[in-house]
């Protein structure tokens, strides 16, 4: 798919002239203890309640007052169940996807913000997978409210949530090609079809080039 924006703009569609300034996100490695706040308690409780902690949780990151647990995708459901039942994180506030095309092998990331109303605490789970094999287990059996959120993330990023009861597109039309929130998907430039008539994409209506 060519990355061509509206009005004949090539590349990112950025007209400010500063779009070429790309910075790699460098946040590898775990945060050193103590994490501060209630984060140490959460990590300790999880280690006690979940014997496979060291194997399943690859990184524990505390940044900007937020705790993020990086979980191996095949262990996600187990960890979520423990967090829900033993650590009382009753609610999952949804799924947010991120696409990092330059991270070979873990291009697609899904983030689950969990909330414990009982303890008034928050924790975030981060799971990554590759573009080639974009499968992540579904959390719908643990947190039922994730149903639509996972459909949205599938729609926008193409992450396939295994075990989801009905993983179909939710915001885009059912017959849409591609996943719009991926970084290699262009902004604009899509022809619109309505009742048999096709309206060309803006850059094809007149010669703006």
């Amino acid at each position: 798919m060519s990355n061509e924006g509206m009005f004949g703009v090539k590349g990112t569609g950025d007209t400010s002239g500063y779009g070429g300034l790309v910075r790699a996100v460098s946040n590898l490695g775990s945060t050193e203890r103590p994490y501060g706040g209630y984060f140490d308690q959460v990590a300790d409780d999880l280690e006690r309640a979940y014997p496979d902690f060291a194997d399943a949780i690859t990184r524990v990151v505390v940044d900007r007052g937020e705790l993020t647990l990086h979980v191996k995708k095949e262990r996600l459901v187990e960890v979520a169940k423990i967090l829900r039942d033993k650590l009382l994180f009753e609610m999952c506030m949804g799924v947010s996807g991120v696409h990092y095309p330059e991270r070979t092998g873990s291009e697609l990331v899904a983030l689950y913000p969990l909330l414990s109303m009982t303890k008034n605490q928050r924790v975030r789970l981060e799971v990554s997978t590759s573009e080639v094999d974009p499968h992540i287990p579904s959390l719908v059996e643990v947190y039922g409210g994730n149903n639509w959120h996972e459909r949205e993330t599938f729609d926008m990023f193409g992450i396939i949530f295994d075990g989801h009861p009905g993983l179909t597109r939710i915001l885009m039309p059912d017959d849409w090609d591609g996943h719009p929130q991926r970084k290699d998907y262009p902004l604009g430039g899509i022809a619109v079809e309505y009742k048999g008539a096709t309206t060309p994409a803006p850059q094809n209506r007149r010669s703006y080039k």
Binding site: R23, N27, R64, M93, S96, H149, L187
Partner: protein
């Protein structure tokens, strides 16, 4: 090959006969359906149905008048706001965020800006006056949003009067928004680092009058609906969803509070200085539409209480800055009212155009390129009129968001439509959906 005529009155499919109703004689349709042997009917309600709160489509499976299955269909208002935001700088993002849930624009902007401020590490540097204005604007916005919820909710259940009162109140609030920001809706008023500009002269006094007027006028709707027999018959015991259901489905806001749990982020995880205000968290224990209605009615008074306290604080902070002091972040609009009603301060223009090339360069860079936000991710949540509205933003260190995701309460809460309506009557779906108060602009983004 047969051609498909989308306007045909009936057509045969493998699922059975499909009737298209586009006006005409309803009785003849009913008698025709009555002749069919099967009791089970699938009705497509929406996306243009006037009672579905905007472009919401509900596919209903009915046995007579009993609903056996509800499948909500959304996406008709999807505008790709999250994708668009990745192509504009951080400040420009507020003009996108404000357009999601168009009944609660200030909440969208605040959630987005709080997340950016978290990433920038300037949460504690936001001037006190900016936070007070944010709180006051959010509470005014809560009133205008609840007014639409109550007014349209009542209208959808067949009561016309409440809407007139509700929209009268909403109108004066929007007039106040216009006086403060220049726009009635979608104002992009809350910006990273503070708010766009200070309140105009005499606004605090005007808002004090507004509070008095609103408090008096709220009584009209209260008299009309609270305890009204017809209203209670349509709402009591309808749209039942208990605490377990809310937790499983991630439901927050008035729907959660109608189960008796006083969960309100303003109290539990305060932001913008909400810990300095006195107000009550309203709950009900009926888990039904009537309980949610009562909660919204009572929250109006709590919002007025917060606004009154905010106005006192605004008097005390008169003349203090409303934007963070860091000139590398603050949008360089030293706005001053000119003869044309709006414009940049002439002193500021004189300085950047006449005497300081550095100021000009700085102004130019900040407006065209924007400020850099350190790499990382942040999640900031606010209590919107519909529940937890949160922004999850990711930065790669550049001047534009790498990824913005909104956890929209309408989107999440709409999932509960099926749980609330299945097994009930068709007419009660309307009440259940109205009590969730989904705004499709927020659901679809």
């Amino acid at each position: 090959m047969t051609t498909f005529d989308p306007y045909a009155a009936t057509r045969e499919t493998t699922e059975g006969t499909v009737y298209s109703v586009t006006g005409g004689d309803w009785d003849s349709l009913v008698s025709e359906i009555g002749e069919s042997k099967e009791e089970r009917i699938i009705v497509n309600m929406g996306p243009q149905h006037p009672s579905t709160h905007g472009v919401l489509r509900l596919v209903l499976e009915l046995e007579g008048e009993t609903v056996t299955e509800v499948r909500p269909g959304i996406g008709y208002l999807h505008t790709g706001i999250e994708k668009n935001m990745e192509y504009r700088n951080w400040t420009q993002g507020t003009t996108f965020a404000t357009r999601m849930d168009y009944l609660a624009p200030i909440f969208n902007e605040t959630a987005y800006c709080l997340a950016i401020e978290k990433l920038l590490g300037i949460t504690n540097d936001i001037p006190e006056r900016a936070s007070i204005i944010r709180v006051m604007m959010m509470e005014l916005n809560r009133i205008s949003s609840h007014m639409v919820a109550l007014g349209t909710g009542a209208l959808e259940l067949g009561a016309m009067g409440p809407m007139f009162f509700a929209f009268r109140e909403r109108e004066v609030v929007l007039d106040a928004f216009e006086a403060i920001t220049g726009l009635r809706m979608n104002m992009a008023y809350v910006r990273p680092g503070g708010v766009q500009q200070d309140l105009p002269t005499g606004m605090v006094a005007r808002l004090r009058d507004l509070v008095v007027e609103l408090r008096k006028n709220f009584k009209d709707n209260e008299k009309l609906l609270v305890g009204n027999t017809i209203w209670m018959k349509r709402t009591e015991g309808i749209g039942y969803l208990d605490l377990a259901g809310c937790t499983t489905l991630g439901i927050t806001g008035p729907v959660l509070r109608s189960t008796g749990l006083p969960w309100d982020l303003r109290k539990m995880q305060p932001y913008c200085g909400y810990e300095n205000y006195e107000f009550d968290v309203i709950t009900a224990d009926t888990c039904d539409v009537y309980g949610r209605f009562l909660i919204r009615m009572a929250e109006l008074e709590q919002s007025l209480r917060i606004i009154e306290q905010a106005l006192d604080k605004l008097d005390a902070t008169e003349g203090q800055p409303v934007m963070v002091a860091d000139k590398k972040i603050a949008w360089p609009a030293q706005l001053a009212l000119g003869a044309d009603g709006l414009g940049n301060s002439l002193d500021h223009i004189r300085e950047i155009m006449g005497s300081s090339m550095e100021s000009l360069i700085h102004h130019f860079k900040l407006v065209t390129e924007g400020f850099h936000v350190p790499a990382g991710q942040a999640y900031a949540a606010v209590e919107s009129p519909r529940g937890e509205l949160a922004a999850h933003i990711v930065s790669d260190g550049g001047t534009k968001p790498y990824r913005v995701h909104f956890r929209e309460p309408s989107f999440n809460n709409l999932q509960s439509t099926s749980a609330m309506s299945e097994g009930g009557m068709v007419a009660d779906i309307i009440g259940a959906v109205a009590s969730i108060d989904p705004v499709m602009g927020g659901v679809d983004r």
